[in-house]
């Protein structure tokens, strides 16, 4: 176990100042579920840990009335997300993904910001967020910047976050008014498993049942969670026929770049991308009919 020092500043500004001062030897801790495991199993860890537990309102979940998007404070726990009435109504894909992480006693600690900053290729919350055109707000010494989530992930464990920045908010498109979202994954156990493959999708239909906006993203089949816009765009302006869905699924499979590892082979993962994409799109079609 690595011994780090602990700081709990009173404000976000002070947290950023400490990160700046410790120049790359500090990490922000939220729930600590990834940090503590890394410290124990790999003997790796920061020299300084910055907790934002004293800073208020970093876990607020709300609908932005001006844009219709949903905004989630990065320090909201996954348990808070899966139980939020607003998110259950407006972000079904994200709620499903949050529910699938670990177990309740883990989700009561783990946060959405932590899940994204850990940047695992299989991060459950990433595919539904990417499918819902999510952006992330990064707060640093010069203020805030918002970037599309797909630009945030750079590789396994690597993000666009600078050493003196904190991920403070996630924003995504909402369900409702002809739009719906979903997340499905393949794994071996019923509970407490990591996705072998995950598929997140969001569809918005016009009055005639044609696809107006489509988001599709994959987990655990590339070095980062992977948006597949070329596959998603095949649906634009189209009806959701079985034949069209099959085409999209084949295109998603072609875009995936899975590896073989201890959990599954590349071939199996590729095949499952196609199966899950079909399953998710058909289920969304069903959901939007009702």
């Amino acid at each position: 176990m690595i011994a780090f020092d602990y700081h709990a500043p009173e404000s976000l500004q002070e947290a950023v100042r400490l990160l700046d001062q410790f120049a790359g030897t500090a990490r922000v801790v939220a729930g600590g579920t990834d940090l503590m495991v890394t410290c124990r199993l790999r003997g790796l860890g920061p020299q300084h840990v910055i907790s934002l537990r004293r800073v208020e309102n970093l876990d607020v979940v709300r609908r932005d009335e001006a844009t219709g998007r949903v905004r989630i404070g990065a320090f909201a726990t996954l348990r808070q997300i899966e139980r939020s009435p607003l998110l259950r109504e407006r972000c079904a894909g994200l709620v499903e993904a949050a529910h699938k992480v670990g177990s309740i006693p883990v989700r009561n600690l783990a946060t959405i910001g932590g899940n994204l900053c850990n940047a695992s290729p299989s991060a459950e919350t990433a595919p539904p967020l990417l499918a819902a055109a999510a952006t992330v707000t990064l707060t640093g010494p010069g203020g805030q910047r918002a970037i599309p989530l797909e630009q945030f992930f750079l590789g396994p464990g690597k993000t666009a976050l600078q050493p003196n920045e904190v991920l403070t908010e996630v924003s995504l498109l909402a369900d409702g008014a002809g739009a719906a979202s979903m997340y499905e994954r393949q794994c071996i156990r019923r509970f407490k498993d990591i996705a072998l493959v995950g598929v997140g999708a969001r569809l918005a239909l016009d009055g005639a049942g044609r696809c107006q906006a489509v988001g599709l993203a994959l987990g655990a089949v590339a070095p980062t969670p992977l948006p597949v816009p070329a596959a998603a765009d095949l649906l634009l302006g189209q009806q959701l026929s079985d034949a069209r869905i099959a085409e999209v699924a084949a295109a998603a499979r072609a875009a995936a770049k899975p590896i073989t590892d201890i959990r599954a082979s590349a071939e199996y993962r590729s095949a499952m991308v196609e199966v899950l994409t079909i399953r998710v799109l058909r289920a969304l079609r069903e959901a939007l009919r009702n």
Binding site: T25, G31, M36, P46, Q47, S51, S103, P105, V106, L109
Partner: protein, 171 residues
């Protein structure tokens, strides 16, 4: 992340409320709640299994919500209310849930029992008669390698029929 150094940052006093009693505890900055409970406060009812958040044997309640204490930083919990298995029985009287575990034969080796009790206590405080699916979801984070879970689920169902145990633990 950088390679850790051999430096050992100084311990500090943390104000923790454990089983309704607020106390000052000397805590290392990187110490887990599990270490503080077992090694600092000698509350060894909470078990150390995997120490990586997978087995749930270390589950305790923080402000009524179950958490894996092996992954929680003690200093992050200053001012919060922590309940361990030692805090369930009052004046030597077991809760209906604890009694149901005994009566239903839900305990074999017993190592998972404290964590199971904490997860189930939180569930029953929120849902008076949970479905079997809700029970299984609530204890999905608590691994038992003896019982096959059936007796445990039955015990939780039996306790549910007797009314919510210790609702006061959950804020």
């Amino acid at each position: 992340m950088s390679q850790g150094t051999s430096l050992r940052p100084a311990r500090r006093l943390a104000r923790l409320t454990v089983n309704r009693e607020t106390q000052e505890v000397l805590v290392a900055p990187s110490e887990s709640l599990l270490e503080t409970l077992r090694d600092g406060l000698r509350l060894t009812g909470t078990k150390r299994g995997c120490d990586t958040g997978d087995c749930g044997a270390c589950t305790v309640l923080v402000d009524g919500a179950p958490v894996v204490s092996c992954l929680a930083l003690s200093l992050n919990l200053e001012g919060r209310s922590i309940t361990t298995v030692e805090g369930l029985a009052q004046n030597g009287r077991l809760t209906p849930l604890q009694q149901a575990f005994i009566d239903s034969g839900a305990v074999q080796c017993g190592f998972c029992t404290p964590g199971m009790l904490m997860s189930a206590t939180a569930l029953l405080a929120e849902e008076r008669s949970p479905s079997e699916a809700a029970i299984r979801d609530a204890i999905a984070g608590n691994l038992c390698r003896c019982t096959g879970y059936i007796k445990i689920v039955e015990a939780i169902q039996a306790a549910a029929h007797q009314g919510a145990p210790n609702a006061s633990l959950v804020s």
